[in-house]
């Protein structure tokens, strides 16, 4: 718990809250200021917009603890505000609200637009209000109301205040309080410990039914400068193959083609660890193999199933081997539920590149007679630069782009 003190609508208030409590919940739950509404909790809809040190901000993605000593004004604090009063009259006159849910955020943003923009066109007002969604009015009355208030005020000789009169730099609300040492959150849930060490790997079967079709699939080929027999043998050692895949590790040696393990993947600040099992089939006659597996990331409640097929054949030049890989996978759960990306091929290609780089390094190392544990692989971590995103993360890119491309 952290004690958060701030000024809410001119009143100094203070409450003990967990650091994870966002400003909107702080105001609603500890101060009963329920005029601030939550519409999306990811900063898009604008219903939670309020004033922090005079500037409109999203209270759903601003943590209360980060607003120590800041001055917060919610819709309830605008009763006697001159611009807000004019806006209320104009919103009523122009029918700028229906269900009223977006209205508090709308008024807060509108007040800021009235204050900052000297002679905006209708389009300027629309752009300036684009961070507030209304599902009822079609914005017609809202825009007219704001335009009316601005025209009226300018006609009365009241000029806009560029920038809203802000002078300090940095996020609105920041810098009002000094340092605070690390404070512990309330009891952390058991889940926060590494799940793999406290619970056994799921025992579910890794085999896929014959009619299973992957959500995403792609093929890739590469050539390594090693004889085909060596490469084929290498692919028979699943632990070595796994070690070439950054982030992957096995729980033990395979038992009759069945192996358990995990793969840790990381994209930016997001990390997931899929624990699961794989079934391995190999056909020496055709030098082809299949690895089918499934895994679950307990933290996000997401799961993946995948099928890797490979064929090892002589390359064009002597001593070279060509490997054809086909990869198909399906992702389900929270991590799957975002817009799809066109990135997959690109990520897959980077994945294969990293895998090949590691494979090459390992084969070369063995050719020199080195032991595998003495080898340092070129790409060990699934982050920064090299291959970074796991294939299963490809589809997130769009989401990040849409949602988070604006810090």
């Amino acid at each position: 718990m952290n004690t958060v003190s701030l000024i809410a609508n001119g009143r100094k208030v203070s409450a003990d809250v967990e650091p994870r409590t966002h400003l909107a919940d702080f105001l609603r739950d500890t101060q009963n200021l329920t005029g601030t509404h939550l519409g999306c909790e990811h900063g898009v809809c604008g219903a939670c917009t309020l004033l922090i040190d005079g500037a409109p901000a999203r209270s759903c993605i601003t943590f209360a603890v980060a607003c120590e000593n800041a001055e917060i004004i919610t819709i309830e604090g605008l009763d006697d505000d001159e611009i807000a009063a004019e806006l209320r009259a104009a919103f009523t006159r122009e029918h700028g609200l229906q269900c009223g849910y977006c209205t508090p955020g709308m008024i807060v943003s509108a007040r800021d637009v009235v204050m900052r923009l000297q002679e905006p066109s209708e389009h300027d007002i629309r752009v300036a209000m684009s961070g507030n969604l209304c599902r009822c009015t079609g914005y017609v009355g809202i825009i007219r109301a704001i335009q009316g208030v601005i025209e009226d005020r300018r006609a009365r000789g009241i000029a806009a205040i560029p920038g809203g009169g802000r002078t300090s730099l940095g996020p609105a609300g920041a810098g009002r309080a000094g340092a605070v040492a690390r404070a512990s959150a309330a009891a952390r849930i058991a889940l926060k410990t590494d799940a793999s060490e406290t619970t056994p790997a799921p025992s579910h079967s890794a085999s896929l039914s014959a009619d299973w079709k992957p959500q995403m699939s792609f093929n890739q080929s590469f050539v390594v400068s090693h004889p085909v027999d060596d490469v084929w043998r290498f692919f028979g050692r699943i632990e070595d193959v796994a070690s070439c895949l950054p982030g992957a590790s096995l729980a033990g040696a395979p038992v009759s083609g069945h192996v358990q393990g995990r793969i840790r993947v990381k994209v930016g600040p997001i990390s997931a660890e899929f624990q699961g099992a794989a079934e391995i089939d190999r056909d020496d006659a055709t030098r082809t193999g299949r690895i089918s597996g499934s895994g679950k990331d307990k933290r996000s409640g997401s799961a993946t199933r995948g099928l890797v097929g490979y064929a090892v054949k002589p390359g064009e030049n002597p001593g070279e081997t060509r490997v054809d890989v086909s990869i198909g996978y399906t992702l389900t759960g929270m991590l799957a539920q975002f817009g799809r990306s066109g990135l997959v091929e690109d990520v897959a290609s980077r994945l294969i590149k990293a895998f090949v780089a590691n494979l090459e390094a390992r084969l070369a190392h063995e050719a020199r007679g080195g032991r595998s544990e003495t080898l340092s692989l070129p790409v060990r971590e699934l982050d920064a630069g090299s291959l970074i995103s796991s294939v299963v993360f490809g589809r997130f890119r769009r989401l990040f782009a849409r949602l988070f491309g604006r810090n």
């Binding site: 200021l33 849910y101 977006c102 209000m129 009015t137 058991a190 889940l191 992702l331 539920q337 817009g339």
Partner: protein, 784 residues
């Protein structure tokens, strides 16, 4: 004080509290000891539930299906022949059939902590093949959602009206047209706060609902309670649009829990839950053929329509309302002789659907109007000429159309004429001949529809769903100080009924609207009603308020006449007074006499006093038919695929407008949602049934720069069967925009040979259509 009555753009009585943040929505309700619920939901679209593992640390805070003994599943049947009912479990036990289906209910002091609990509960699921595509779902080899059915079809319907006669038409245009699945996305999601009232032995459940009385019925059935043991309160509601018109399993769960846990419990739907787990709408697929003569006269329409109804039949509208409605409304406002339509309501592993603003009309209008423009291009005539040839004419009114819809009144061709007059077609055609800056292409498109509203008993009895509207009741009751209380069973969540109902009562009684209080949203205090849906409240609750107000006026006149020493038949009501031959007495005085000075009342005074509840039905209950013509002028950027709406004209006939400002607002808001359907909103699923939009960054709602201020003109053809001649218009604005914009885009792209047939019309779809047209002209019309 005429300016407060019917026809006045009276400022809204509800505005002030909303503008000051003093509205009270479900999430704003505070109760001592209240705890929060979060749900563990299925991450899979289709799976067998093998078990639910609850760690010891959170035992007692987690409830799964085996705890909810005796709770019945949600079942919404339809009486239509061949309908196959589904059972929607309150918490999943045997199978899960959609992502987001409830598996366990988790309780804690705060929502954050309840989510912590849910994160520790593990469902053991065996994944089954997901049915994600409604057309594939109809095939015999598809996986099955409800195995006992033998297929995935809730209902198949077929109608054939002299179809053969159209086959020799010289013009035959076939298109495959579809609309994306959508989320209704009111800014406020669903939410429930429930507690057990010990004194009244009653479950009190606050839930943002368009139809509290229907929720009560459904909830009582699921929980095995008598209706009297359940009170539903629907407070301020942040937008409905249909989404708040169903009984949710969450409501049932919270009700069950509140009866046992000894404190209030709360669940507030978050945006991810809304988008991925809540009900969806609008996913239609049409194979539609228009038959016409060379002059554009329609000979017939043939259509195969499939609606993706999702996993379960939702309560009370059922899974088949939408597709079956397609068959009955596809002919639109047109008069033609031959018609054939087959529809399928298909079960898939997605959220159930429910009727969104416009219900099936938005999809139907999109399909039919795009085909009409294709016919116009084929015939080489202007699209409005094709429409003019086929619209039902005013002299035919009232008109029974080919599917036996009874169009009550109106002048459809005049609406289109007025809309065309507002747009300079010749100038646009001339402009299209010249290059635009930036290479943009200009297009004009139109759409016209009629909207049945206030469907009555005769319409709904045929559907046989759990809810059939009968007489709509209202209570009118004077208070001792001369104020008026109106109690209605419908719910106002943006429709402004706290104002418009007061205007109706004012029109009749003359009481100042400032002294009229409209009570709604509480089963304890309001007369039974099917609630707010189907553009019915102004007609039905408005009619009931008018009827009750008149009745109240009669009661007041009885007392007033006595006070004036006049004969009952010699007094009349005027501006809040009972006026006799020799004087007048205010309604205030009348009320004071009834309540506070009964000694002054005559011996034979009507014992009902100043309090009456009465039911209302229009003279004919086949529904009102409002209509509108929409015209869009767009600029398409063929390099980037952007579409800008340059001009938008609406000519609407809603009969008598109770409050024109409010009606305008409904149309503007509907237009914004229609633009969302046309250009932005899309709930995609992957082949394993995973929803691919869980945020407003994936699911795009139109904002202020995406919605133009339209030019709006009203016609006021009075409805013949309703009070004041009012027609329902609540949904209309959302019906025509995809069709009008789609036709405008196709008009802009016709020189390139590209045609868009799938909504939303995204930049990528535009660019793909252009690219396809360039590489393979034969594919035009099949693309997208």
């Amino acid at each position: 004080m005429k300016e407060q009555g019917v026809g006045a753009s009276l400022p809204r009585k509800e505005d002030d509290r909303f503008l000051r943040g003093r509205g009270e929505y479900v999430a704003d309700i505070r109760m001592a000891g209240m705890k929060d619920v979060a749900f563990l939901r299925s991450p899979l679209a289709h799976a067998r539930v093998r078990g639910v593992h609850v760690p010891d640390a959170v035992r007692g805070q987690v409830f799964s299906a085996q705890d909810l003994k005796g709770v019945r599943p949600i079942v919404a049947v339809s009486g239509l022949a061949g309908f196959k009912p589904s059972e929607q479990p309150v918490l999943a036990h045997d199978k899960v059939r959609q992502v987001g289906e409830l598996i366990a209910m988790c309780l804690a002091d705060t929502r954050a902590q309840a989510e912590d609990v849910a994160a520790q509960v593990e469902a053991d699921l065996e994944e089954l093949p997901a049915v994600h595509d409604m057309l594939a779902a109809r095939r015999p080899d598809s996986a099955l959602l409800h195995e006992q059915w033998g297929d995935n079809v809730f209902l198949e319907t077929f109608v054939d009206k002299n179809f053969e006669a159209a086959l020799d038409a010289p013009i035959k245009v076939t298109r495959v047209i579809s609309t994306a699945r959508q989320s209704m996305a009111p800014l406020e999601g669903r939410g429930t706060v429930a507690f057990w009232d010990k004194r009244k032995e009653q479950l009190v459940l606050h839930t943002g609902s368009q139809m509290p009385h229907i929720v009560r019925t459904g909830l009582a059935e699921c929980l095995g309670l008598e209706h009297g043991q359940v009170r539903i309160v629907s407070p301020d509601v942040g937008g409905g649009f249909g989404y708040k018109g169903i009984l949710l399993p969450e409501d049932v769960c919270l009700g069950w829990l509140a009866m046992r846990c000894g404190h209030a419990v709360r669940w507030i739907e978050d945006r991810r839950e809304h988008l991925t787990a809540g009900a969806n709408c609008r996913e239609h697929h049409y194979v539609i053929t228009g038959y016409a003569d060379r002059d554009g006269r329609l000979r017939g329409i043939d259509c195969e329509a499939t609606v993706d109804s999702g996993a379960y039949s939702s309560y009370p509208f059922s899974a088949c309302l939408e597709a079956a409605q397609v068959a009955s409304i596809l002919p639109g406002p047109y008069d033609f002789p031959s018609y054939r339509c087959r529809t399928w309501s298909v079960a898939t592993n997605k959220c159930p659907i429910l009727p969104y603003r416009g219900v099936a009309r938005t999809g139907v209008c999109f399909a039919l109007e795009l085909v009409l423009d294709a016919i116009a291009r084929e015939a080489g005539i202007e699209p409005h000429e094709v429409r003019m040839k086929n619209l039902v004419r005013p002299e035919q009114m009232p008109f029974d159309n080919i599917t036996n819809k009874h169009f009550d009144s109106g002048d459809y061709p005049d609406a289109l004429k007025r809309a065309m007059a507002a747009i300079d077609l010749d100038a646009i055609r001339a402009r299209q001949q010249r290059p635009e800056p930036g290479g943009r292409l200009i297009g004009i498109g139109q759409a016209i529809y009629c909207e049945q509203g206030a469907h009555g008993t005769s319409v709904y009895a045929g559907w046989g769903i759990p809810m059939v509207p009968g007489h709509e009741q209202a209570t009118a009751r004077m208070t001792p100080d001369g104020g008026l209380e109106l109690r209605i069973g419908a719910h106002s969540h943006g429709q402004s009924m706290e104002t418009t109902m007061a205007q109706i009562a004012h029109e009749i009684l003359g009481i100042d609207t400032g002294s009229i209080k409209v009570v709604h949203g509480d089963t304890e205090y309001t007369p039974y009603s099917t609630g707010t849906w189907g553009s019915r409240s102004a007609v039905m609750s408005g009619g009931a308020v008018a009827t009750a107000s008149r009745e109240l006026g009669e009661l007041a006149k009885g007392i007033g006449a006595h006070l004036l020493q006049a004969k009952r038949e010699d007094v009349k009501l005027e501006a809040g007074f009972v006026v006799g031959p020799a004087g007048r007495v205010s309604l205030k005085e009348v009320a004071r006499t009834w309540y506070l000075r009964p000694q002054d009342l005559p011996a034979g005074v009507d014992p009902r006093g100043l309090d009456t509840t009465i039911g209302y039905k229009p003279v004919r209950d086949s529904g009102t038919f409002s209509y509108a013509a929409h015209i869009a002028v767009v600029a398409v950027d063929p390099e980037i695929g952007d579409i800008e709406i340059l001009d938008y004209v609406i000519v609407e006939d809603g009969g008598k407008l109770i409050n024109p400002m409010v009606v305008d607002g409904q149309i503007y808001g509907g237009l914004a949602q229609g633009i969302g359907t046309a250009l932005y909103e899309e709930m995609n699923f992957d082949t394993s049934g995973q929803p691919l939009a869980s945020t407003f960054a994936d699911y795009l709602l139109p904002g202020p720069t995406e919605v133009p201020a339209p030019r709006l003109e009203h016609m006021e053809t009075l409805a013949p069967y309703t009070e004041f001649g009012v027609k329902g218009i609540g949904e209309g604005g959302a019906i025509a925009p995809p069709a009008a914009i789609g036709n405008a885009v196709n008009d802009a792209l016709k020189g390139l040979g590209a045609e868009l047939l799938h909504s939303p019309i995204t930049p990528r779809r535009v660019l793909e259509a252009i690219a396809n047209a360039a590489t393979d002209p034969a594919k035009v019309g099949e693309a997208a």
